[in-house]
């Protein structure tokens, strides 16, 4: 229905209403704080 790349772009934009879109790549820095104060929400960018 919607291409994966288009869907990812839309997902990031749409999620702005829920939280903020960051730019860091998974695994490069940061990451989740298991059981702590941060939840990491991942999507595939276009």
């Amino acid at each position: 229905m919607i291409s994966p790349l288009r869907r990812a772009a839309v997902a990031c934009a749409a999620l702005l209403a829920l939280t903020a879109c960051g730019e860091s790549a998974v695994g490069s820095s940061g990451g989740a704080d298991p059981g702590g104060d941060t939840l990491v929400f991942a999507s595939i960018p276009s």
Binding site: G22, S24, L39, A42
Partner: protein, 253 residues
């Protein structure tokens, strides 16, 4: 909204591909992720702890999914998928869920070889597939439901009744939001409830998260918001994979 509901900071991260998302979930680096239907099934197979909690819908009350249609021109003598045998059949592209994978499963179930039993034509888009059928370039074809029922008619490219729907797929599950297996079950429920009850245009606008409903796009393009889903909704994807053995069922992109 999610931060308020969960009492945590939400950090949004871009992953390079679904394989990285799955590995991140298994490694405790990712707590929540957006998957496609096929990548979710692959993820669940690799990490049974991953749990789908919600999928986006276009309007309040909608079901979290859509259908593929098998279509012919209104005057065609084709009345079902078996009648596609030996004909020029328009698909969307080989990676399209509703424009190829579900249709090929339907053809196989109808006794039609989707490669040798027809002449496949890849139109490149759902609109192109439907319009090629309407114009007679293809004897039959496939496209997703909304483009046949509404979009091409509203755009003036098709007249009502110009196409006939001779097959409807089972519901094709929408792209799920899934929670990692190591997230506390109580927190997982909070996340699920937040998506089900508050991640929608109505709530986000009424509570000041969006300035106006028109500016408030939630989920997929033009979406209204999210509704609950469970793993069983994706059994249709698993069945299509069993039938077609498609690359999408074994390879993460």
């Amino acid at each position: 909204m999610l931060e308020r509901e969960t009492g945590t900071t939400i950090e949004f991260q871009n992953a390079t591909d679904y394989a990285a998302v799955i590995e991140g979930m298994r490694a405790g680096q990712i707590d929540i992720a957006v998957f496609g239907p096929f990548s979710y099934v692959l993820a669940k197979g690799q990490d049974p702890g991953i749990t789908p909690v919600a999928a986006s819908v276009d309007a309040a009350g909608d079901q979290p999914g859509y259908q593929s249609y098998g279509i012919t021109a209104a005057g065609s003598d084709i009345t079902d998928l078996a009648g596609f045998a030996g004909r020029n059949v328009c698909f969307v592209d080989p990676n399209s869920t509703s424009g190829y994978l579900y249709p090929t499963a339907g053809l196989i179930e109808a006794g039609v070889d989707p490669a040798a039993g027809i002449t496949p034509v890849f139109a490149g888009g759902h609109d192109a597939s439907a319009l090629a059928v309407a114009s007679g370039q293809c004897d039959a074809g496939f496209a997703y439901d909304t483009i046949v029922d509404r979009q091409l008619i509203e755009s003036g490219q098709l007249q009502p009744g110009q196409l006939r729907v001779v097959w409807r797929s089972e519901t094709i599950a929408g792209s799920p939001i899934a929670v990692a297996g190591d997230v506390d079950p109580q927190q997982r429920q909070v996340i699920a409830d937040a998506f089900a009850q508050k991640a929608n245009v109505d709530y986000l606008t009424a509570n000041g998260f969006c300035a106006t409903a028109a500016e408030c796009e939630v989920g997929e393009e033009g979406g209204w918001g999210y509704v609950p889903v469970d793993d069983a909704l994706y059994d249709g994807v698993r069945r299509v994979c069993d039938i077609t053995r498609a690359e999408s069922c074994t390879s993460l992109g």
